[in-house]
């Protein structure tokens, strides 16, 4: 069975703080993809990043960075110098090889206060 766990239900930080959102996954597949999505208050999920199981290089995009570690089955997301506009629900997801469907975690609600 495939499973994605986001243990942090809600996180609240003050603007300019760094924050890390945790994601742990379980899969028996050797080939898989991991994703992060952002859901702002408007409701529409927005794709942020994908990472395949053979590429453990960390990625940085502006204030966002992602740390993928197969040894701990984790794909964590860090926002540096958070801003109020980062307030949203963030979802981690795993793409299942056999049926080609996505498994989502429960989401982490991030609130950034001014």
């Amino acid at each position: 069975a495939q499973k994605v766990t986001q243990a942090q239900t809600e996180i609240s930080v003050v603007e300019k703080e760094d924050v890390t959102l945790d994601c742990v996954y379980e899969t028996r597949d050797t080939t898989y993809y991991l994703f992060w999505y952002k859901q702002p208050p408007s409701g529409e999920l927005v794709f942020l990043i994908r990472r395949n199981s053979f590429d453990e290089q960390n990625e940085i995009s502006g204030r966002y960075s992602w740390n993928f570690q197969k040894s701990t089955s984790s794909f964590n997301f860090t926002i540096t110098a958070s801003q109020v506009v980062d307030s949203a629900v963030y979802f981690c997801a795993l793409s299942e090889a056999l049926r080609r469907i996505m498994r989502f975690g429960a989401g982490t609600r991030l609130t950034v206060k001014p």
Binding site: Y33, Y37, G43, R50
Partner: protein
């Protein structure tokens, strides 16, 4: 610009009513998905479709059916709405069955069943 639209943002129905949720994508995508989103549970897959007139059950198909008569349109049907189907419903599409494909989401329909 990629677009997935859903027929209603908010819907209120009574127990026992038949409810239709419509989703349209303009990207010529092969795959379409219906999820429901509940606090603490993340997104759970109800049904998905890889082609016109094809459908497959997701993780929670009970109480729902779907219809895909045209490539761009995927309808979710609640045959007899119940209060436990009060939820946020999200539609998504993706280009094909590639493992790496991200999904594109609509804005969601918040359904309340009284």
């Amino acid at each position: 610009d990629v677009k997935v639209t859903q027929s209603s943002r908010y819907l209120v129905k009574r127990t026992g009513e038949k409810v239709f949720l419509e989703c349209v994508q303009d990207m010529d995508h092969e795959n379409m998905f219906w999820y429901r989103q509940d606090p603490g549970l993340g997104l759970r897959l109800i049904y998905f479709s890889y082609d016109v007139k094809m459908k497959e059950k997701g993780d929670i198909p009970e109480g729902y059916s779907v219809s895909r008569e045209k490539k761009e349109r995927f309808s979710l049907i609640l045959e007899s709405a119940s209060t436990n189907q009060t939820s946020m419903y999200l539609c998504a599409s993706s280009p094909d069955r590639g493992l790496s494909n991200e999904q594109f989401f609509g804005p969601g329909t918040r359904l309340t069943v009284l």
